[in-house]
């Protein structure tokens, strides 16, 4: 019987990825990818990584983190030898240990923890929720939803639903290369495009709340 090096379980808050202590890191990585491909609708799901007896180097855990983020997963916690390790805290602790060499990957990491990057088009029926910011490299099609506690930035066309500041922030914005949403929400404000006006924006636009109203303006730097 072949024992599996990577086991993915579903749990209340998301999924748990358990790694075996044996086997090379490279084959583990491949197996994680294979396993993730066999699951669907993972975007915005929180992931817990259980490394068991294995000791992951900073670089290795970063690699797994990036790999998960590319699939729209958000690595929340790392479990080591049955102990729960807060990923954020661990990163901070690691950082304080070697304050002399703040490498590029670490600075990227701290940003990446509140922002997730979705490198694909969100299609009808797909929903992303993330408490931080969401960047979509692709379109948000009709019937798809992108809901962020922070800001929403879409490097493509928004045709579906975009919700920024979903946890109540009125300062959040929605910016898109083309903004033609079915519905746009910021904080508690819900807006929809005026009826009958079929014209599509031809410029990058940004929606924000100004004096209590959602305002859409051409995006200018």
């Amino acid at each position: 019987m072949i024992t599996e090096d990577v086991v993915i379980r579903e749990s209340k808050g998301g999924i748990i990825i358990c790694l075996d202590s044996q086997g090379s890191f490279l084959s583990l990585k491949e197996q994680i990818l294979d396993k993730l491909d066999s699951l669907d609708e993972l975007i915005g799901v929180q992931a817990f990584l259980d490394v068991g007896q294995r000791k992951l180097s900073r670089k290795e855990s970063n690699e797994i983190n990036n790999l998960l983020m590319e699939r729209g997963l958000h690595l929340k916690k790392l479990v080591s030898r049955g102990k729960l390790v807060d990923f954020k805290k661990e990163a901070a602790a690691e950082k304080s240990k070697e304050p002399t060499s703040p490498s590029v990957s670490e600075t990227n990491d701290s940003v990446a923890e509140d922002t997730i990057l979705i490198k694909r088009t969100l299609r009808s029926g797909q929903k992303v929720f993330h408490p931080g910011n969401i960047v979509v490299l692709g379109d948000v099609n009709p019937g798809a939803e992108v809901v962020a506690g922070g800001n929403v930035l879409v490097m493509g066309t928004v045709r579906g639903l975009a919700h920024a500041g979903a946890l109540g922030s009125e300062k959040a914005i929605v910016a898109a290369f083309r903004l033609n949403p079915t519905q746009l929400r910021i904080g508690k404000h819900i807006t929809r495009p005026p009826e009958g006006e079929g014209k599509e924006g031809k410029e990058p636009e940004m929606a924000s709340i100004k004096s209590g109203k959602v305002v859409i303006e051409n995006f200018k730097v």
């Binding site: 491909d37 669907d40 009808s124 029926g125 009709p142």
Partner: protein
């Protein structure tokens, strides 16, 4: 021989999955390839009717999975073309009678024998859909130029991608040249823009399809049928040939040119 399994799907019902499967299967055999069509719409089978093979069914896909019937025994040979076969669905069972795993095994067995395994997917995104895509290498998505159809097709592409299917191609079915010209119908560019998948072909609305479907004869057999011609071109593309896609714009140009010639002649 190692063939490929192509699932023909749409999400929405009534957009032409079964008609497309029947026509592409027939057209591929007309090109000299061996093809088998698999009907996965258990409980609502149609492909056998469209092919005019209904009265030849003895065993079906559920018998193969559960009844110890050999795959070869359930395959029905087409009455017109050598090298064309049908694996019918069961009419008296439900979708859950077959599991995705069993479906995958059937597809793997079939592609050892055939160049093309065309899987006709049922409407919807439930078990029937999951079964149909389980063994597929590629997908062909059928959409008609209506907002609801494009929406469903988009959902389907998302599910296909999530299932690891990377080669997804689009057939736009039942397009009406005159309505597109008037701007009353969604145009092809808009559809491709939203779905962002490769265009495999465009099939015009054609009344002869309804007639031939009711007679149990695929439209590709009729050399006068415009839809049949479109399906023959799509089959050649699936067979690896480079065939330009006729969108209605350039077809109209030819039409106008002919009309102009007549005008000149009548002066």
């Amino acid at each position: 021989m190692k063939g490929k399994v192509i699932v023909i799907t749409s999400g929405k019902g009534g957009v032409g999955k079964t008609t497309t499967t029947a026509n592409l299967g027939t057209a591929l055999t007309m090109l000299g390839r061996k093809a088998v069509m698999v009907d996965t719409d258990i409980g609502l089978r149609n492909l056998d009717v469209v092919m005019g093979l209904e009265n030849r069914i003895v065993f079906d896909i559920v018998d193969v999975v559960t009844g110890g019937i050999k795959l070869k025994q359930a395959l029905i040979k087409d009455k017109r073309f050598e090298g064309l076969y049908l694996l019918p669905a069961a009419q008296t069972k439900e979708k859950s009678a077959v599991s995705p795993h069993q479906m995958k095994n059937i597809c793997n067995d079939l592609k050892k024998e055939f160049d093309f395994v065309l899987v006709d997917c049922p409407a919807g995104i439930e078990q029937g859909f999951k079964n149909a895509i389980a063994g597929a290498d590629e997908a062909v998505i059928i959409a008609i130029p209506e907002v609801s159809s494009v929406r469903d097709a988009d959902r389907i592409v998302g599910l296909l991608e999530a299932a690891g299917l990377r080669k997804n191609q689009l057939i736009i079915n039942r397009i009406r040249p005159r309505m597109v010209k008037r701007g009353d119908m969604m145009d092809i560019e808009d559809m491709i823009d939203i779905l962002s998948v490769e265009l495999l072909g465009v099939v015009p609305e054609d009344e002869t399809v309804i007639v031939s479907t009711n007679k149990g004869e695929p439209a590709v057999i009729d050399t006068m049928s415009r839809a049949g011609e479109a399906y023959r071109r799509i089959a050649r593309r699936l067979n690896g040939e480079e065939v330009p896609v006729i969108t209605l714009g350039n077809e109209d140009k030819i039409f106008n040119r002919v009309r102009r010639m007549f005008k000149l002649a009548s002066r």
